[in-house]
Each structure stands twice: as structure tokens, then as C-alpha cells.
């Protein structure tokens, strides 16, 4: 099946997620789609699989223009997508799960089709007990099940979105073997990933997206440095002004291990100095969020120690962490940080830790006015938080943080903000570092990481690097590490 994408545009609000992407995909090839977070690769794949609608542009399948308005449209045309999180029903048996999907596409399955299903899984080297429960499978097995299901439904074009996240090395080997076999059978495989190694091993061709544009493509064999440069671009590296850390230890982390549905992080050790800024680099979903939440007491570590003033606070609840001056600022501002339907003034009253029974209207109005002015928030005391723009919501969140604080844990603090707002937010954060507050932040922006962080921890597939001084770190080297290269064995 020949797919041609012509001038695809997609906007989310003011964000141009896909900017005139034109791409031809021939059958029988494994195409790698590379790009950093927010480059638009997932959006493009969702457009192709009917999950979201393009704003303009054309999709030709075997030279015929097609409208893909839903995933079932795409399935009927033979395009199927394997999502990062399995789209299945954990409480059902595998047979039931398959039946649900097959009735959705309107094709009735008979006994011979079950034979066909068994033939497909045998061919790819998978083993399922059809009467087993989906929920008992590992992430890797659920992914295999989904792959079999899509093929069984007659899919010719297979899109895989970061398929190797959370699966074992052995399962990855089985998956890659299966994908190569399928490509040999003239199926089209589109492989979305940020792991250079995998793209190098598997793909015959790779395209790179950056800021919504398709900016280059390469044929195998690939040159890694070349791909890194395409992905992250050549940016002018600003030179750091000063080292803000001191020699006083703010927090010691010893043998910390964190476990999650997908991610397992083990044996993290580092000392955080007062006034220091540590940046967390890595692709989205490599464990940065879990790491920040564990340090904030919001998530229980499975082992190890988090020491504050020689006291281990691992295992205490988040309010105990807050009492010790550790605060977390989530990336989902409206969902986790602010209360929709409450005014700015109400937010300030709530964040005020003074114990009192009645609301002191005059006082809270005064606090609100001064904070709005100091943090340059475009809104009034009676404005509801959800009415603010993203940048102003972020300013509001930061203005709610208690002062003084020991440690601020910021998840993607400048995501979605324009340069000016981002710079302004960092100037505020830097002021707090002068007052001996330490900061740990995650970011997808290499420039931001190398510029503002004193040291950087790189996350890759559940591994965390030693703290690397950012002064000796080029963006190129950082990009390679994020992509899984140059790691000590």
C-alpha cells in the first residue's frame, strides 16, 4: 500500500503541531520517525490513523484521496496504530478482547478466522492462551496481542508509537524480528521512536521532525551524529553566567528505587546542594515525573533513603515533605496545580499557611494585589484561574509557592511558554536560588537544561546517569545520551 501525505497542517490552539508535512511511504519498508518531544510526530501518526483530524492537506492511499475521520475508517483502509498505552480491556479474556474489536470494524469472524489468528501469532513467534485474561499479560505481551489483533483485522500499514517503552529486552528482540518479517511480507511499518539505536537497527529509512516541520530524511545506514544534529538542530549555546550552588547539602538521595507500571528506576545516588539547580534531561516518560513526585513525597519509593538534615523522610506523606519546605509544581497546571472555578484571591488565601478561622478580606486582597503585580500576572483578583492564559497560569503557580522554601521540584516549568515568559520565570527562580532554595526541574529543551542547570541527570529507559556538570556538557553529547548512546556499560 502506497501512502502519500501532502501538505498536512494541524493546529492545537496557537500551536502549529504539523506544518505542511509532505511524505511518501512505500510498501515493504520500515520507516523511522524521529524527533524530540513536541516535534509533531505523534500528531502526524494520529492524523494518519484517524484518531485526530487534520486541518488541511491530503492523504492519498494508493493514489486515491481518503478522508480519515475515525480510527475505524483507518482500520477499514488497512491502517492500524499500536499506541503507547495498550488500547485493550484488562478485565476481559483475550478471546473476548479480540471479538470486541472485530465487531467494531463490522466484519464477522468465523472459526476459520480463529485459525488464521493462531497462524498469525505462530508466524510471529508469539504465544497466547485465548482463554487467559488480558490483565494478566505483561506490557510487552499486551503489545504483541495488539499487534496480532491489527494484523488479524487485515492491517497493511502498521504504526508503532514508541513501542519499546516498558518492555523487556527479550520482548524487544521478538518484536523486532516480527516487524522485520512483516516488512518482508510487503507490509508497511512506521516506527516512531527517539532511540537512535533502535532506528539504526530496524529501519531502512528515517525522517526527522522538528517543531512541526519535516526537516530531513536519511537512508540506512545512518550516521548517528548526523541524526542527532537533525533532531535537536544547531543552537547557539549561551554561556552560563555563574555557578549558583553552595557547599551546604540540601538533600541526600541514597540507593533510591522507584517502580511504576512501566518504569523501574534503581539505585539513584546524589547530593543536592543548597541553591543548586539540577536539570532532568530525557525523553518524556523516561521516569522524570516519577522521580520528581517521589522527591515530593507524592509517590512512594520502593527503597532507599531521602535525607534532609540527616533525617530519612522516605515513606512520610507529602504534607511532611511540604512542612520541610519541599514543593512540587506539576506540568499539568490546570489538572494538578490550580483549582478551576476559584479566583486568584481564593488561591492566595488557600496557599497562605497562617492558621486562622475566618477569611481576612482586606489582608488577602492586599496580598493578591501585590503578588499579581510582582509576578506580572495578567488577571485580576476576581479572575478565575482557568481564564488565565498558560503563561499566566504558570506565573500564578509559582507565585503560590511558599517563600522561603528548601527545594522546588518543577516539572517542565516553561513548557508551552514563549521565550520572554520563560526567561522571566527563570529570573524569578534564580532569585530564589540566591536565597539558598534548591531547584530540580525537568525539561525537554536542551538549551534550557544546559543554560540554567548546574548539573544534569540524564534519564534513559529507567536508567539515571551520574550528575553531570553542565559546564562540560555540549548539547550534542546530551542529545546522544538522551537517545541512549554513550552510556557507561
Amino acid at each position: 500500500m502506497l501512502i502519500e501525505l501532502i501538505e498536512i497542517h494541524k493546529f492545537f490552539g496557537s500551536v502549529h503541531a504539523n506544518n505542511g508535512i509532505t511524505l511518501t511511504i512505500e510498501p515493504g519498508q520500515i520507516l523511522g520517525v524521529l524527533g524530540e518531544n513536541g516535534a509533531g510526530k505523534s500528531t502526524l501518526m494520529k492524523v494518519l490513523s484517524g484518531l485526530i483530524c487534520k486541518d488541511s492537506g491530503k492523504i492519498l492511499i494508493n493514489h486515491l484521496e481518503q478522508e480519515l475521520n475515525s480510527p475505524s475508517d483507518a482500520l477499514r483502509l488497512g491502517i492500524g496504530m499500536l499506541h503507547q498505552d495498550p488500547h485493550d480491556f484488562p478485565s476481559m479474556t483475550i478471546r473476548e478482547d479480540l471479538q470486541i474489536w472485530d465487531s467494531r470494524t463490522g466484519v464477522k469472524k468465523s472459526a476459520s478466522d480463529w485459525q488464521q489468528l493462531i497462524a498469525i501469532q505462530k508466524d510471529l513467534g508469539f504465544h497466547f492462551d485465548l482463554n487467559g485474561t488480558v490483565g494478566e499479560l505483561t506490557v510487552g505481551e499486551r503489545q504483541q496481542l495488539e499487534l496480532v489483533r491489527l494484523l488479524w483485522l487485515g492491517v497493511e500499514v502498521l504504526i508503532l508509537d514508541e513501542p519499546t517503552t516498558g518492555i523487556s529486552a527479550a520482548q524487544q528482540e521478538v518484536l523486532f524480528a516480527a516487524l522485520k518479517k512483516l516488512a518482508g511480507q510487503d507490509k508497511t511499518i512506521i516506527f516512531v521512536s527517539h532511540k537512535l539505536e533502535e532506528v539504526k537497527e530496524l529501519c531502512s529509512r528515517a525522517v526527522v521532525l522538528r517543531k512541526g516541520c519535516l526537516i530531513g530524511e536519511r537512508q540506512a545506514p545512518f550516521n548517528e551524529n548526523d541524526l542527532v544534529e537533525l533532531m535537536f538542530g544547531r543552537q547557539i549555546t549561551r554561556t552560563r553566567t555563574s555557578q549558583s550552588g553552595t557547599q551546604d547539602i540540601c538533600m541526600s538521595v541514597r540507593n533510591l528505587s522507584i517502580e511504576d507500571f512501566r518504569i523501574r528506576i534503581e539505585n539513584v545516588n546524589f547530593d543536592l546542594y543548597a541553591g543548586e539547580v539540577i536539570g532532568l534531561a530525557g525523553m518524556e516518560g523516561s521516569g522524570q515525573r516519577q522521580f520528581l513526585q517521589t522527591l515530593a513525597g507524592l509517590k512512594q519509593a520502593t527503597g532507599g533513603r531521602i535525607e534532609i538534615d540527616r533525617e530519612d523522610i522516605n515513606g512520610k506523606n507529602c504534607f511532611e515533605f511540604q512542612k520541610r519546605g519541599i514543593f512540587y509544581v506539576p506540568s499539568a497546571r490546570m489538572e494538578e496545580g490550580l483549582v478551576p472555578g476559584m479566583t486568584l484571591e481564593e488561591h492566595y488565601i488557600l496557599s497562605d499557611c497562617e492558621k486562622r478561622m475566618f477569611i481576612n478580606g482586606k489582608n488577602s486582597r492586599m496580598i493578591t494585589e501585590t503578588r499579581i503585580e510582582r509576578f506580572n500576572i495578567k488577571g485580576r483578583a476576581a479572575t478565575n484561574s482557568e481564564e488565565l492564559s498558560g503563561g499566566n497560569q504558570q506565573r500564578l503557580l509559582l507565585s503560590l509557592l511558599k517563600d522561603p522554601a528548601r527545594l522546588l521540584l518543577l516539572e517542565n516549568p516553561t513548557r508551552g511558554l514563549d521565550i520572554e515568559s520563560a526567561n522571566w520565570i527563570w529570573s524569578i527562580l534564580r532569585e530564589r536560588c540566591q536565597a539558598a532554595t534548591s531547584i530540580i526541574f525537568s525539561s525537554a529543551d536542551l538549551d534550557e537544561l544546559t543554560f540554567y542547570a548546574d548539573r544534569i541527570l540524564v534519564f534513559f529507559a529507567g536508567r539515571i546517569s551520574e550528575p553531570l556538570p553542565s559546564s562540560g556538557l555540549t548539547e550534542e553529547k546530551l542529545g546522544r545520551m538522551i537517545g541512549g548512546k554513550d552510556w557507561p556499560k
Binding site: 490552539g13 496557537s14 507524592l298 507529602c318 504534607f319 511540604q322 514543593f327 512540587y328 509544581v329 506539576p330 489538572e335 494538578e336 496545580g337 490550580l338 483549582v339 478551576p340 472555578g341 476559584m342 481564593e346 488561591h347 488565601i349 488557600l350 496557599s351 499557611c353 486562622r356 478561622m357 475566618f358 477569611i359 503560590l400
Partner: protein
């Protein structure tokens, strides 16, 4: 723009009421009755005599008390369906306290006060059970409340037909009435007690102040609107949710106590008379604004009392008032949803 929006909001509210009236008329027409006559009868059933007006207020009191509790629960994001059971437990405990003390020779005022306290304790215990099931058992407060409602009903029936049965023969009419000295004093010639009326008014004021002027009220609101953000602000959601269960239980217990002490003067089966569920409807309608509960609960109470006229005057079943009450809520909520959808559409283009 803002002024316009206020007007549009108001029009939507009115249209919800109009739609409910229209729907009820339709139901009446299907039942071959004249809608205008029916509405007139309901109206006259409320205002024709001072006794009827007083009766409406008798119904208004428990409705206000339950609504006060439910507004607190709703604010913290809790659907306290279990309020019926909490009212019943309040009534049971009040009855129990009175039975225990009626022959003790204590002054009646003390016994009545003990009855109120026992009622409050009953409501709080039943509400805390829901809370415990939610936080320690992982059971949704809706299912826990529903289950405990059934248990409360069974408990009251068992008491009426078992240990507390009337001398001679047990009956659905309840336990033996208490001595008139233990009744809440009433206005001469009416069934309305000044004490229960004041209790309702004080409750409104207390809840209004709690919600508008206290930090606790604001925290409850934050927990209800965004649990995760509340955590970041140092508010423990489980603590505040339990608090709102307790407060709701207090009001439910007071309702039960008032029904025993001021209205029935004994324990009867289903003493909550559906006021808990009706309170849920009122609380949904007033959208966290306790002040609005005053007229809305009055309207609902009036429909309840006025509806009594229908079987007498027109041979219609009195449940028609239930149809009106629920269609009011139904259309009102629908109109609210439509309004929000339209506003969102309106806002979208302005963003780009």
C-alpha cells in the same frame, strides 16, 4: 458582554422552569386532567388557610436542614446519597434517648436537648460509616450510602415491630407517642414549632458563613474542585472529606431529631419521608449557593403540601408534585448544560 451574560443566564434558568411546567402539563393532559385547574389546586392547597401555610413551613424545615448538610457534602465533591439513612439513624437515636429518659424525672427541656444530641450523634455515626467505607474500604460514597440507607430502614422497622413495639400490637403507625411534655412547643393551633423554624434559619446562616467567610469552607471547595491541586496547597483531601461527612451527618441527625420531636412525636417507619432525596434535588438546583435553598426548598415544600389537594379535588394521585419537582431539576440541569456548551462555543473563536 458581562451584563449580557447575566441576562442570558437568567433566561436559561427561567426557560428550565417553563419547560418543567410544560412537561408536567403534558403529563396531566395524558391523565385527562386540566393542567390549569391542577396548578390552581396546588397553589390553593398551600395558601388558602394559615394552617396550610404553616404546614408548608413544617415541610420546609427538614428540607432546609438536609440541604444545608448536602451543600457542604457537594462542595467537597461528595455525593452523599446516604443522607436518608443518616436522617433515619438520627430519628432512631432521638427516639432511643427519649425512651431511655422519659421516666427519669428530668425536666422535659433537658430530655429534649438530650434527644437532639443523640440525633446528631446518630447522623454523624452513619455518615462516618460511609466515610470509613470510602477511605478504608475503597467503596464509593454513593454505594456505601445506598447500602446503609437500606440497613437504616431495616433497623427502624425492626425496632418498631420488635423491641420498641407499641403496647398490645405492633403497627406500621410506629412506636407509642411520647408524652406531650416531650414535644417541641408549637405555635398555638398549628403544627409548626418556633424552635424547629429557628433551627432551620440558624442552620442557613451557619452554612452561609462557613462557605463564604471561613478558610475551612474555601478548603472544602478546593478539595471538591481539584483534589490534586489541593494536595499541592497542603490540604489533606481525606481529612476535609471526612469533615464534610461529619457536618452533613450533623444536619441529617438534626433533621431526624426534628421529625421525631416536633412532627411525629414517635418513631414511624420511613420517618425521613424522602426529605433526604428531595434535599439532594434542592442542593443540585441551588448550585452550592445556600441562600437560594430558602426559596427553592419553599417551592418544593409547597409542591409537597399542595399536592395533597389533588386526590381530594381532582382524583389525581398526589405524586404529581413529585413529577413537578423532578422535572424541574431535570430541565434545570439540562438547561445549565446547554448554556455551558453554548458559552464554550462562543468563547472558542475569540481564542484564535
Amino acid at each position: 458582554m458581562n451584563k449580557n451574560r447575566g441576562l442570558i443566564d437568567f433566561l436559561f434558568r427561567i426557560s428550565g422552569i417553563a419547560a418543567a411546567l410544560l412537561f408536567t402539563s403534558l403529563v396531566l393532559l395524558v391523565a385527562r386532567a386540566n393542567p390549569l385547574e391542577a396548578f390552581a389546586n396546588i397553589f390553593m392547597g398551600v395558601v388558602s388557610t394559615p394552617i396550610k401555610i404553616a404546614d408548608t413551613i413544617v415541610a420546609w424545615v427538614p428540607l432546609i436542614l438536609t440541604t444545608c448538610g448536602l451543600v457542604i457534602a457537594f462542595t467537597a465533591g461528595l455525593m452523599n446519597i446516604g443522607i436518608e439513612g443518616q436522617i433515619m439513624l438520627g430519628a432512631i437515636m432521638t427516639t432511643g434517648a427519649l425512651r431511655l429518659l422519659q421516666d427519669s424525672g428530668l425536666p422535659p427541656a433537658v430530655i429534649i436537648l438530650a434527644g437532639f444530641l443523640a440525633g446528631v450523634a446518630g447522623g454523624v455515626i452513619w455518615a462516618l460509616l460511609v466515610g470509613a467505607l470510602k477511605f478504608y474500604g475503597g467503596v464509593s460514597e454513593i454505594f456505601a450510602g445506598l447500602g446503609l440507607n437500606f440497613i437504616a430502614t431495616a433497623l427502624s422497622l425492626w425496632l418498631i415491630f420488635g423491641p420498641w413495639k407499641r403496647a398490645g400490637v405492633a403497627s406500621m403507625s410506629g412506636t407509642a407517642p411520647f408524652d406531650a411534655a416531650l414535644w417541641l412547643p408549637m405555635f398555638q393551633g398549628f403544627r409548626l414549632s418556633p424552635w424547629s423554624l429557628s433551627l432551620a434559619i440558624i442552620s442557613i446562616v451557619v452554612v452561609f458563613i462557613l462557605m463564604k467567610f471561613t478558610v475551612v469552607g474555601l478548603r472544602l471547595k478546593a478539595v471538591g474542585k481539584n483534589t490534586r491541586a489541593a494536595i499541592q496547597m497542603g490540604i489533606s483531601p481525606s481529612k476535609y472529606m471526612l469533615l464534610s461527612f461529619i457536618l452533613c451527618g450533623v444536619f441529617a441527625g438534626l433533621t431526624g431529631a426534628v421529625q421525631v420531636l416536633g412532627v411525629y412525636h414517635r418513631l414511624i417507619p420511613s420517618i425521613s419521608s424522602g426529605y433526604g432525596f428531595l434535599g439532594l434535588l434542592v442542593a443540585m438546583l441551588v448550585d452550592y449557593q445556600i441562600i437560594w435553598a430558602v426559596p427553592v426548598a419553599l417551592l418544593f415544600a409547597a409542591l409537597n403540601i399542595g399536592g395533597i389537594q389533588l386526590p381530594i379535588m381532582m382524583k389525581l394521585d398526589s405524586t404529581l408534585s413529585g413529577v413537578m419537582q423532578s422535572s424541574l431539576v431535570f430541565f434545570f440541569l439540562i438547561m445549565g448544560g446547554v448554556r455551558k456548551k453554548l458559552q464554550r462555543k462562543e468563547e472558542k473563536p475569540s481564542n484564535e
